[in-house]
Symmetry: C2
Subunit: 197 residues, 2 copies
Amino acid sequence: MALIGPEIERLIHLLAKLPGLGPRSARRAALSLLKKRETLMQPLAQALYDADAAIVGCAVCGNLDTVSPCSVCRDTRRDQKTLCVVEDVADLWALERASVFRGRYHVLGGALSALDGVTPEKLNVDSLIARAAEMDEVILAMNATVEGQTTAHYLIDALRSSGVKVTRLAHGVPVGGELDYLDEGTLSAAFKARRGM
Amino acid sequence: MALIGPEIERLIHLLAKLPGLGPRSARRAALSLLKKRETLMQPLAQALYDADAAIVGCAVCGNLDTVSPCSVCRDTRRDQKTLCVVEDVADLWALERASVFRGRYHVLGGALSALDGVTPEKLNVDSLIARAAEMDEVILAMNATVEGQTTAHYLIDALRSSGVKVTRLAHGVPVGGELDYLDEGTLSAAFKARRGM
């Protein structure tokens, strides 16, 4: 569309690359930004620069923070002998929000995927094996997807020689879930892992 | 969540203000930005600054462009005597994409809404009435919502004294639409406005 200048065109093009925004919603977002220049557009530009300058990847675990090692790795009150392996920083954040784990993390940076060309070399596997040697337990908290479970199986094999205890998250009926709406895989996993009362 | 630094916190907070992004998708967007710093995060920050610096509102019609009057208002090949009134710049873009109108536009900047406190004084109504005096026809292209139609009725009253011909877009079955899926209001409008073959 020749009508829109290159500046808006470029802004829309970049906004459309964000997850959750398509071409149409990127246009809406660009217009909304242009309407709220002082309150949204300029602060967002500044926030992007600030975050880019301040945020670094943790050299130990792969988390994102303003310091490296990150605040989780530095926290001496956390259990230093239990390691929770996650695919992504978002998963680490989710577990921290739920406050279910008080040990340390290891972010793989993705999951194995033949389709997307993600091989073990592209993930932080070597550093995990090095760290695992000093741990009492390694908890594999991969997503319950094909890629996530493939990765978990790969890691179980890779960690076998270190002799560390390896566990994985339980699969079953999610809290609040109705059986009628659950898939066969989940129901089957929940049955197999049933517990005595 | 104390875990995330203030820089990411602020970035997520601002991203969540964009239409189409909630708190969860803003988190995903922030992580995606932090993963693609050179290709997305820095260019987006620059694009926001550039667009903010370059884009101005057209003093005549309210469109957004790098010049004022905007390129639509300057285009002498366009019909100077037909004015299409839209609620928002996004509507102007939509009509331009469809290439259905070759006259000039007038952007109201919203629609009347008692709930949101949008009164006629907050819209570009005065400038519309001034411009309408020089026109052969004013086409009201408001949204077919309660607010849009309220605005259209208000403008019909406001434009009556100027004696200009006022028209509005046809309501009816959208092209490709199936009757079974349409609401009663649309079906009723389509019946009332039926045409001889």
